[in-house]
Symmetry: C2
Subunit: 546 residues, 2 copies
């Protein structure tokens, strides 16, 4: 490290030390202090590491650490962790994640969707002005020369940027990727700073409610396929909400703040929401109470018809437009056979500013809800919420130099919460999750047979049979069989000198412990037969569920 | 925006303006100037956007822009682009990406590998000191309070951190994810700042060369499955290189710089490499020439035996160890049937510092090489290089507080280059790449039949048949058929009033234009029959390749 850099770093360490001391004096929030202490330690470690070129020999670091007083509560000097609010996925978690993704992607493909991908970061200005108050949660990249960049906050804004930039006016696409929010993590409840979003959107100028209803059908298909108990898809309409606010006497410029107050009703009692409306947002108490009369209501087509007879409400053009959309949507839901899953709910408001029409949110209502509640992924969605979305006809126009609009509607599957539920289910079922798909394990009966094993593996791999063997030259049969059992490998192929001479292999079906001799020439065929789904009862499946 | 923030921003803009003026005066590199101009424009736009809350109405931005003098070469004020060195993936590219991934993952699973995932960013100190000179290419996140973070630079260091943190001592894992390098992008040659890595590694204390050889087998399987022409996997050994350097008289502390010079031999003539060794790195010219005598050699087992008889070389213990490893590796390669793909090449050195044993690099040598050359992904790999890796027994120990080592060996598939090759192939073949998998398109023969269409779609989706329909209420048959042909959809299902009354649908096989009536009750069965692989010649396949 050049001396000048070292000096800069030392200055930074001094300054950071002062920050920590000040926070401690002020008895600041413990988490805040811990964060700043970690930063100080990072800086110190940077200095330490860079001055020792042979870091592999850097044991001196640790021996110093060991001299610390026991009970000294500061974190270790050498911090071995993932960044706050993030996690690694172990193979067991990845196996569950893959299952969930496969079901969801199968549904998107069944509906004829394409997929796209966008960079993990965008120009800072691309994200600016799209998220309202939440903009403070955007991760920025350091200015290292060049463009100012930020990590993506969701997949919707990059999608809109993509459409405008490539002048795409029609697309049905899904996008599964990670997004980043500097939010207060609650990792035990499934809320992370790095998390997957799983979005399906239909862009294009189409006839009313046809794409909008397909989004609901998709949510119903996905949640049903995951077998996570009962759920309901709440629907509402931003135009109807605006109409209600107007009919109740909310001034135009307060529509959005009041909408965002209504959005809290799934987690917060009316008294508190009313307080926010009146005390914080200066709404007339009478107006608030009128809103409450509306937003308590939920139902189906009956509610639509009743509201369409409400003379105060129907004076508002936007309320009528919203109601007519909902009427059409519900009739299409009937044709799609999902009416029993849909609830027209006037309290549904959704947090984001950019919605302009139908909005949705899917909520778990069954016995699994307790699990879901423990997996609250985003502050902005309610307890048990596992999907949400709506229509946003103005967003793409914000990126077009001529303001050309591309109407869009979409849903986002709360996939981190679904992972958590599926993980909890897997844990509860005591079924061992297989993290590999290995079908055959190759074992030598004697020492000195490595190359024979390799030849056997080659033959199996070349026949597309998932095969493993030990990376030890000489192995013990018992240990090898135990490995097969622990890892749910259904078949073992065993060779010894006598088998080689006789041109055979021994095949052991692990579940039944049945062992038989197979001609080497027929080996592939016999293995495929033993692995065939029809035989899975006595091979793979029984082991997998043991 | 608070006034104080606005002032800060205005100050920044002023400062940035000065930077740009200075660069222009200095007639600096055009790309550098353009970068700084973009930054200035980003800052200006931040100011502009934030002061205009209704950005959707922000047409004033653009009208101002239009007042610019024509010929004013500055970029647009409203920059609609992805960050430098990054790109979006359109559906066609995603379809190819998926094909390539599927083949690679199938191979990893065939070899019994698990997968893990790690966060896109790590603590800055986790990456510090791992990449030598290349550390300057690491993306840092802005300091927004909290930990100091950097985007991952590769998947190997996060893997080592994962092993140490979770005390994993044995794992065979693959990891496919994006990594980030602030390198000079050469996007037309496939070199990006955001790009995929696709790594397979075996960690654990095993017997010599067994995991090492399986990595070669995997590379051979993957490259063969992708059908990209001939290739060779070069192998060498860091200990042998060290032994050669010692035998030639290179002083110990110059082993790494000299190794990194040798690494350039795949792109640079010997004269230039020699110059670097002698002039830049202060090597005795005689020593350099002795090295050249060695590193020109390549071959197979014959070369190993010849070198083992070299009395100068075999005085060096590390050379003998390296040669014995290579001998064992080549004998295992024989058993795996990959000898014809492997070349023991003394000029192979690999750039990274952390390798401690066998190193590999796979090079395309066939007629496709020209395409590969156009897809140079990383400066550090040679022309045509599509995979590389080696053994790194010390890296995990750098993360363990007690320095406990976990020996590792792995390969990284140069997947961006493989994408480029496959894209070029797809383009050359003039075959249309399908971006959806839609099997059936539902069409109404008359107006006013939307809900009948929806019911039909529901029945098909529920039977897991990939189905689409128009989002228009009323459609034209001809347009609908055209849509099927353009998108390679093999079947159309048509209903009209008379079909509904008769309890039938019309099924049209798009390839043959054959149209027949099918009972509604048998519809699913008939569709599945028509879509079955045996019938693909006259349905899917023929359309796909048209």
């Amino acid at each position: 490290m050049a001396d000048v850099n070292k000096n800069v770093l030392e200055e930074q360490i001094k300054a950071q030390g002062a920050v920590v001391r000040k926070l401690k004096e002020e008895k600041a929030d413990a988490e805040k202090i811990s964060e700043e202490v970690n930063k100080l330690l990072s800086l110190k470690s940077l200095l330490g590491l860079d001055t020792k070129p042979a870091k592999a020999k850097g044991e001196s670091n640790k021996s110093k650490e060991n001299k610390k007083q026991p009970g000294d509560e500061g974190p270790k000097k050498f911090v071995l962790k993932t960044p706050k609010g993030t996690r690694d996925f172990a193979p067991e978690q990845m196996a569950i994640r893959e299952q969930v993704f496969n079901k969801i992607v199968a549904c998107f493909k069944r509906h004829g969707a394409e997929t796209i991908d966008t960079p993990v970061f965008e120009l800072k200005e691309t994200l600016t002005g799209k998220y309202g108050e939440d903009s403070k949660l955007i991760y920025d990249l350091a200015d290292q020369g060049g463009e100012l960049l930020s990590l993506r906050y969701d997949l919707t804004v990059p999608f809109a940027r993509y459409l405008a930039m490539n002048k795409v006016t029609n697309i049905k696409r899904y996008h599964i990727a990670k997004v980043y929010r500097r939010d207060n993590p609650a990792m035990n409840r499934g809320r992370f700073r790095e998390f997957y979003q799983c979005d399906f959107d239909i862009a294009g100028q189409y006839d009313a409610m046809l794409p909008d209803t397909e989004c609901i059908k998709i949510v119903v298909e996905i949640l049903s396929s995951l077998d996570i108990g009962d759920f309901v898809v709440k629907v509402n309409h931003r135009k109807l909400l605006d109409g209600i606010f107007a009919a109740c006497g909310v001034p135009d410029h307060k529509f959005r703040p009041i909408c965002s107050a209504v959005d809290k009703l799934d987690k917060t009692p009316w008294e508190d929401v009313r307080k926010e409306m009146v005390d914080e947002k200066g709404l007339d108490p009478n107006t608030a109470d009128k809103i409450w009369e509306y937003v308590q209501q939920s139902g189906g087509m009956d509610l639509v018809e009743r509201l369409l007879k409400n003379e105060i409400l129907t004076c508002e053009k936007s309320a009528v437009e919203g109601l007519e959309d909902i009427r059409l949507l519900l009739s299409y839901c009937e044709a799609y056979g999902v009416t029993n899953r849909v609830s027209f709910d006037l309290s549904l408001a959704r947090g984001l500013d950019y919605y302009t029409g139908v909005i949705y949110e899917a909520i778990l209502t069954g016995t699994e809800t307790a699990v879901a509640a423990a997996a609250d992924e985003e502050g902005s969605v309610g307890v048990g919420s596992v999907a949400g979305g709506g229509r946003y006809d103005g967003l793409v126009g914000m990126f077009d130099s001529k303001g050309r609009k591309v109407p869009c509607v979409g849903i986002s599957i709360g996939i981190e919460r679904l992972f958590s539920i599926m993980e909890a289910k897997a844990l509860a079922s005591e079924e061992k999750v297989r993290t590999t798909e290995t079908e055959v394990y190759v074992i030598a009966a004697q020492k000195g047979m490595v190359e024979e094993r390799l030849k056997l593996c080659k033959a199996l791999w070349d026949a597309d049979i998932k095969t493993e063997q030990s990376y030890k030259k000489n192995t013990k049969m018992l240990t090898e069989f135990q490995y097969c059992e622990q890892n749910g490998i259904p078949l073992a192929i065993i060779i010894g000198q006598s088998e080689i001479e006789a041109g055979i292999v021994k095949m052991k079906i692990m579940a039944s412990r049945e062992e038989r001799e197979v001609k080497r020439d027929n080996m592939i065929e016999e293995i495929k037969k033993a692995l065939a789904p029809g035989n899975s009862e006595d091979t793979t499946a029984s082991i997998c569920s043991s």
